[in-house]
Amino acid sequence: MVSPVALVWVAIALGRLFMGSSKLRSNVTIRLPQRRFVGLFAAAILTLLFWSDNSALVFGLLVVSGVVGLSHELAAAVLIPLGLPRLTWVLYRLGGGNGPPAERRASADLAAARALVRRPSEAAARFIERDLATCVELGTSGAAAMALVSLSRGDCNQAHAIFRLIDTMGDHAPPVAARIAREHLMVDAFVREDWRRVEEYEKRAKGSRLATLLASVARRKTHAYRAPSTAVLWMAWLIAPRRRATYALVVDALKARHVSPPVPVAASLEAYVKLLASWPIGARREDLAAAVQSLDALRASPAVAAGIEKRGLALGLTADGKEVCDAILCDAEEDLAQSVLEAGWPATWAPRGITGDAIRARVEQERVSRAEGLVAELERRSRHRVDLSENDEWRAWADARSAIDELLCDNVPPATAFSIVFAQLTAYAVRLTNVRARRILAGDVFRVLQDLAHQGRASHTYELVDRNVTAVKADGLPREKELHGEPIGDLSRVASLRDVVLPRALGAVVGVGVIAMVWLLAAEKFFLAGACAWMTFAAMFLFAVTGHFVQCAWSVEGLVVQSRRLRFIAQFADIAAIGAGPGALVRVRLYRAPRWLPRVVFTLARSRAEAEAHAARVPIAGGC
């Protein structure tokens, strides 16, 4: 006898398939429970059933349901530590992925990338890249996956730039991606002995046992306020992962060691040399202050200028000793400003004074011009329609955002920063949203602008920035009454049938068909159940086919594809093929499409000849 529970499981699967095929025309986003929760539910029921009836079929279904239900946990506990990217990817896809709907697909690639860095291989890296290339948008999970792929190839700078951006996205990033980014950044700061950043990341990485241990070790090493006791440190080590690797850190932190005090301020270069000798690893704010104040002391010392003048005369120079001294100190200021810039320290770390003010001014000027340059480059690319691959686009925005954040750290007024970036970043993000369909990346740009507008009290832009942030949360561009560009398909003659009558009729047939099939199978009326299954299948097939009908138009940016709800611009490179027939039908196959749009869509031209003309003029650039 076929178990009714198993049939319920089949019915759920068919229901999901049916819901999936209806995504094109539904005005309501149907939120089904995630596949792995359904798997867990089915596994729980099947366990009870197996308890009473030791059937092999029930056991098989129980195993399948269990694997689906615990797919993510299995991957995290077994496959990722073993470094098996492809199997990890399969298991994650089986479980439906995690995170927001737009990120679920890329979350499987992120899991695979986590396995990849455990056991790097170029073939697996390419596999992840290929799969991500089929996503219409990388999203935060995809960007994190690409960062890990870069890391597996040894490109730490690229990886950390993306991780920094993900870290600044806060709650808008999926928790897994945010946790990975934070852990990597924190470990990087730790090994570079950047204790200030270790503390910062620890505050944000709530609940991370590794972060707690590293922050405890950092506090112990620097003898900071609230440094943990020996017992607390060992406890943190005990509960942290990778105890073998972290044991040496704890032992090292427990050794009695005093942090060297900064060199006392004097009219000499000792503090300056000490700072640069320990730069950038291990250099502290106090070291910079001592170096700056020592240069001030040198500047104020009449003996130094007199000594230089005397030596100048011996070399046959007639220059004033004070002038030469100032030129030398100017060189030193330049070096210190450069060290502040390269290490990413706030300019406010330089204490007030002649040298300190000069360093602050140099650093601020350099950072303003860097931010202006990066933002102008983003705007220039959007104006000239020069698009980068999405991975490079994330990197470009990560650099620009980091430059803006550094500006704000240097006490540049938010109103000034906002006026520098507002118009250019808005133009950039609008193109990202409207043309490139990169809504997650654009969302971050708009949120930065929103924060800056509110901090800088630019009240005249509140409405615009708030509207942009809201608009980018939608699944796609809103439907237009009249498509701009050269139209391909005209569906007006079948609109009412397509949009209203057919979906409801087919939906009813499928719904009733599935229930009837389950009931008939349970009653062992196999012939009727088979007939019902065929009828349901035929209805679903027709439903799916009609769901693929869209309106299309050529534009300068690509092919505009408009469903009943939303609009999408497929870039020329994203069009795999266009075919004509039968009749006036035009078939469009896309390499990439958003979640709400099938990758194969149909439209109706006015005539067969027109359909063939459209198919013949495909400006395909070779795909992704």
């Binding site: 470094g83 730490c156 570079r192 690797a245 270069l269 000798a277 730069w279 950038p280 030469v324 030398i328």
Partner: protein, 110 residues
């Protein structure tokens, strides 16, 4: 630009001479170093700076002696060359943290 470049590439450190050396002594030292580098003498391949030992090449020896011919430039280099040097090897800033980074995160790359 590396903020340590000014001290690291100081001509007096490159030539291994004190600030009180005469022009003649500097020229002679440069010629000696160039010939030693040409025959591959081990001791001439490195020079001491405040940040540890650096590699000496014929190009930076020539650039150093050129820079010291101009008295206006020389007086500035002399001022910088007054700081004490260290004969230690230069501090590793990349490999050690990278290895530790990978170990802490359980990575087999980087």
């Amino acid at each position: 630009m590396d903020p340590r470049a000014r001290l690291r590439d100081n001509p007096f450190f490159v030539l291994g001479m004190s600030v009180g050396s005469t022009s003649m002594e500097l020229e002679r030292a440069a010629r000696r170093l160039l010939s030693e580098l040409a025959v591959g003498r081990e001791a001439s391949r490195t020079y001491s700076t405040p940040f540890g030992c650096m590699e000496r090449t014929p190009e930076n020896v020539r650039a150093a002696v050129d820079a010291l011919r101009d008295p206006a430039k020389r007086i500035r280099h002399e001022w910088w060359a007054a700081v004490p040097v260290s004969a230690d090897p230069p501090r590793e800033t990349l490999d050690v943290p990278a290895a530790q980074y990978a170990r802490l995160l359980g990575l087999r790359c980087v």
